[in-house]
């Protein structure tokens, strides 16, 4: 008899072999499935807890980074007072009223010999250029900390809404155990699952898939700005075009289909700028009043104004409201009649303005490539909530918080374009690098004579975890 015929008959006969399984088989299976489900829930809980811990660490790292940056901040000098102007001087008596002596200010670096205030009682300050929109609001010192506390709270709240379900346990059956035997996946099953997973990725990406992630985002921020002529003539020009800083946050993405995803999240980022010499005071930025200063030291000088006991200064981002006179500075009235502000602040170092934002984005991303390495493009808008607004002076005695920038909007909008590369570390976990460019769609300063729009280029580096992956 031919083997083929023999095999065929055997096969046909045996195909009809359908004995009844034991009656309790399904109840046993059901009981074991419950054990498996409990273990999976526990594993998901542990993973979410770990993700929360990682996010917390990232947030704390970001906060510490900011705090480290603020180290050396000195309290405002207590022994200095700002002379409140009592009257208005005319153009003709300005030169007569100044008490400034150039020789006296050459020795500025020596702390003990700093001239604390060169304004005498009878100094008359011209305040005709008092700027509108200045309020008496003071920025609480703990604003950043409080804001970060809110950020962490929001983070925790968002984690709570992640579905308590894990659909990505395909390769974790190795942990399934029943009584005395375990059920590791065989090579064949792994191959089968891998084939299915591969087919899944290529042909039919899962719908309703959620992905959460944490990111650290070192970046560079700068701005574009324009100002009215009147404002600009008293404005300190920018010392450097931008600042490097660190952002952090977490993302949540909803995969609508195999190509498109909607992304959101919660991010903390900084934006700011430095200010140096006033163009009006120093002409082209040279140290007009400090020609005898050491060549390796740069002396800051800019026009400041007094109004209602408040010292203010025009910067690119807006009017800086001083909460006191910075340490190691000299304040004098100039003889120059070309400017609106007749007072000049002299010091070494430079101002830096920092704006802290909590960003809630809404991005649309398009998957260009999906395999072990995925590539995607993204774009969208973000709501940026101002949570920190501080002005620092970096002088010889360290970094000193000297006030805030007035008229900055609490809520701002920005547009973002970016690209991302994602590398799968496992079935559900991936590592991503996403360069993003964000540009504010509105001027963050509410004044009509100041238009200041920050932008930021950040490299978002993070870990992502895909939930309920089918």
């Amino acid at each position: 008899m031919e083997d083929q015929y023999f095999d065929k008959v055997i096969r046909e006969k045996m195909e009809g072999f359908t004995p009844s399984p034991p009656a309790n088989a399904f109840s046993n299976i059901k009981a074991q499935m419950e054990v498996v489900a409990t273990r999976k829930r526990r594993a998901v809980f542990i993973r979410i807890a770990m993700a929360a811990a990682l996010i917390g660490i990232a947030m704390i790292t970001g906060w510490l980074y900011t705090e480290t940056d603020n180290q050396g901040t000195k309290p405002l000098a207590e022994d200095k007072t700002i002379q409140k102007e009592e009257g208005v001087v005319t153009e003709s008596n300005k030169k007569e009223s100044t008490t400034y002596n150039p020789k006296k200010t050459v020795a500025v670096p020596a702390k003990e010999t700093i001239v604390k205030s060169a304004i005498s009682e009878d100094t008359r300050i011209n305040n005709y250029a008092a700027l509108p929109g200045i309020t008496d609001e003071k920025e609480a010192p703990g604003t950043i900390r409080e804001s970060m506390g809110q950020l962490n709270y929001l983070t925790a709240r968002l984690i709570q809404v992640i579905p308590f379900e894990d659909r990505s346990e395909a390769l974790r059956l190795n942990t399934v155990k029943k009584g005395t035997f375990s059920t590791p996946l065989s090579e064949d099953e792994k191959e089968l699952i891998a084939m299915n997973t591969s087919a899944n990725r290529k042909n039919d990406m899962p719908a309703n898939s959620w992905k959460v992630g944490i990111q650290l985002a070192p970046g560079y921020s700068s701005n574009t700005s324009s100002h009215s002529e009147y404002y600009a003539q008293n404005m300190a020009y920018s010392g450097s075009p931008g600042k490097t800083n660190m952002g952090a946050g977490f993302s949540i993405a909803y995969k609508a289909n195999k190509k498109w995803s909607i992304k959101s999240g919660l991010y903390y980022s900084q934006n700011g700028q430095d200010s140096k010499n006033s163009r009006a005071v120093s002409g082209q930025g040279s140290n007009l009043f400090f020609t005898q200063a050491p060549a390796d030291k740069e002396i800051f000088n800019t026009a400041v104004n007094f109004s209602g006991g408040q010292m203010t200064m025009n910067s690119k981002a807006g009017i800086i409201e001083f909460t006191g006179t910075p340490q190691n500075t000299e304040l004098l009235t100039t003889m120059d009649g070309k400017r609106a502000y007749s007072n000049t602040l002299l010091t070494q170092g430079e101002f830096s303005q920092m704006f802290d934002f909590v960003e809630i984005p809404l991005y649309l991303s398009y998957q260009l490539l999906k395999s072990k390495i995925g590539i995607e493009l993204l774009g969208g808008i973000s709501a940026n909530f101002l949570v920190g607004n501080n002005v620092y002076m970096n002088g010889p005695s360290g970094k000193e918080n000297i006030g805030r920038t007035a008229d900055i909007s609490t809520l701002n909008y920005s547009g973002t374009l970016g690209a991302g590369v994602e590398y799968a570390l496992g079935e559900n976990i991936s590592f991503s690098v996403e360069p993003r460019f964000s540009y504010f769609l509105n001027s963050i300063n509410k004044r009509s004579d100041v238009r200041y729009r920050p932008y930021r280029i950040g490299i978002y580096i993070g870990l992502n975890y895909e939930l309920n992956k089918k």
Binding site: M1, F6, R11, T18, M33, A170, L173, K178, D188
Partner: protein
């Protein structure tokens, strides 16, 4: 045991339900395939206890992995492959130290078509069950699952030559026993008790 054939849409709903952990859907799926799969498990297992264990283990894997099933092939085939793989895994664990036999040439047994046709399903099942474990595995994989010798050699960790010789030996034993059974039946017919 309910064994009605559901249409494709029903099947998709059952699969979807199983993927989301719905125990009713799991029970439906179980009822659809339990008998056939128990038959598969019995063919590979050394006894019914082991077959029952394999059936349960196999269905747990089915329910846990069904989210990966994409409906681009037969669900029954997919479930069956899992059952076979579970059985093979169990076999591998139990027979790691079996010596490799290599009987390269066998004489074809003179089995008549009549003898084969008259053999009952139960007789054939018991004859297959009585084969030495590896012969039984190779025979089942080749004849029932349609695997070639290269695939069998990979799955069982044996050479292709061993697979071929094991299959030939299994066929030889079965033919001899089927013919013997037939002869016995004929004898019993002539001289009924």
């Amino acid at each position: 045991m309910i064994n009605t054939e559901p249409d494709l849409e029903d099947l998709k709903n059952i699969v979807k339900g199983c993927a989301s952990g719905d125990s009713n859907a799991q029970e439906k799926l179980y009822n659809m395939f339990a008998s056939k799969m128990f038959g598969v498990c019995l063919r590979y297992a050394k006894d019914s206890m082991e077959a029952e264990d394999n059936l349960q283990e196999g269905f747990i894997k089915v329910f846990t992995n069904i989210k990966n099933f994409r409906h681009d092939g037969s669900l029954e085939g997919w479930v069956r492959r899992i059952m076979v793989n579970v059985s093979l895994e169990k076999y591998r664990k139990q027979h790691l130290t079996y010596p490799v036999e290599d009987i390269s040439v066998y004489d074809g047994q003179a089995l008549t078509e009549e003898a084969l046709d008259k053999s009952s399903l139960e007789d054939l099942f018991h004859l297959i069950q009585q084969l030495p474990p590896r012969y039984k595995m190779v025979f089942n994989l080749y004849v029932m699952e349609g695997l070639n010798h290269r695939e069998i050699s990979k799955k069982m960790g044996i050479s292709e030559g061993t697979s071929k010789s094991n299959l030939a030996r299994a066929r030889d034993i079965l033919k001899r026993k089927v013919q013997g059974l037939h002869r016995e039946l004929k004898t019993n017919t002539k001289y009924p008790v």
